[in-house]
Subunit: 224 residues, 2 copies
């Protein structure tokens, strides 16, 4: 049994990879070099993929700076540093238009070519409810695309999208990752591209707060 795992190198997708392995799948990881600001995460994706023992790790390259539109692909937009209470209010400037749709499309192409049964994705509706393409109804819509837009789907063997973290809080994801043996020191969540995580961007704050809430220490070094 084969599964394709969308692997960014972050805490969530790394946990999902270990979940797919625990579910008994031969794992094929896929990452994206879209000229994102936080390129450091691609190194983390490779380290995690290698440490977990995937069958193959594909890195697809394209350039989303072509049209910009997000703080993650446009260096002229400042990265947000908000309080945790502000984060769930609005769609943040780190939203990249159609990013998960693009990612899932490539995962679908890869999965159909290797005849995989599942595509795993680490979306999470609770902590980041600001992103439209992380919600359950969106994932269901993509599932229909997986069913109708492929040869496998038309032949009655649709590739299933699995989003095991979708209803979990960040603290619950960390607990799950601990059970599964994820090496947090290999992961990368910071939106900045530095050698050390900044500790103040939305993503760092969310991660640090969750470790703190659990009374655990995040093994990653932080600048602040």
């Amino acid at each position: 049994m084969k599964a394709v795992i969308l692997l960014s190198g972050g805490l969530d997708s790394s946990t999902v990879l270990y979940q797919a392995l625990a579910d008994g799948y031969h794992c094929y990881a896929i990452s994206f070099d879209y000229q994102q600001r936080h390129r450091r995460e691609l190194q983390s994706a490779s380290a995690i993929a290698s440490s977990a023992g995937v069958v193959q790790h594909q890195v697809v390259e394209f350039d989303l700076r072509l049209w910009g539109g997000s703080a993650l692909t446009d260096q002229t937009i400042d990265l947000p540093q908000r309080g945790l209470d502000e984060m769930s209010q609005n769609i943040p400037v780190t939203y990249v238009p159609a990013r998960n749709t693009i990612f899932l499309s490539f995962a679908l192409a890869y999965a159909e070519t290797i005849t995989a049964e599942r595509v795993y994705i680490g979306v999470n509706a609770l902590d980041y409810s600001g992103y439209p393409d992380c919600r359950p109804d969106y994932i269901q819509a993509m599932q229909e695309v997986f069913r109708l837009g492929t040869k496998l789907g038309r032949e009655g063997q649709p590739i299933t999208i699995v989003a095991p973290l979708i209803h979990l809080k960040k603290t619950e994801i960390i607990q799950l990752g601990n059970q599964l043996g994820v090496s947090w020191d290999l992961t990368w969540s910071c939106y900045g591209g530095g050698d050390i995580a900044c500790g103040v961007c939305d993503s760092c704050r969310l991660r640090l707060a969750a470790f703190a809430e659990l009374g655990l220490v995040d093994p990653l070094p932080y600048a602040e």
Copy 2:
């Protein structure tokens, strides 16, 4: 009013571009360099975009040879040369897994960034019913993704997918293109990558048969 047009440089997508212009839209064309075998079509896309007077023409590059799986991305698979009666029977080897899903995803990202109202695509269910991602139910599923997976869609302004050719026969598409003033000599349909269209691949046969049925002469030169 802005629209994004998926433009391959072929007969169908060129007609669609002219339809979008006739519908009154400022047109933003998008093409894909996915290391396809028939790279000649990208030159046609540029020529058509320029001739039609689009506002912008983006070419997105990525490499679908990473995992192969299609005669269009894998040089080791022979191109089909079938009779017209055989073509609608099965999903052909020229099927590229999830290709339209990938194309529409990028078009969605582009459209949301420039706040376009529509994405035009030249899919056609009749002549090539073998392709799963050219059928009306698939397009409807993608429409749901457009609605649920974007900020604009969540705010009640979903980008609409328009597929004006979906129920037309190839002869009807040529008649429509003639009315709209498409320059057929700038278009390219051949699956081969030569300087002159081969005249014998599925795509050339379909095109030539349609021109012949209408009693018209295709202005493109052909090798056979």
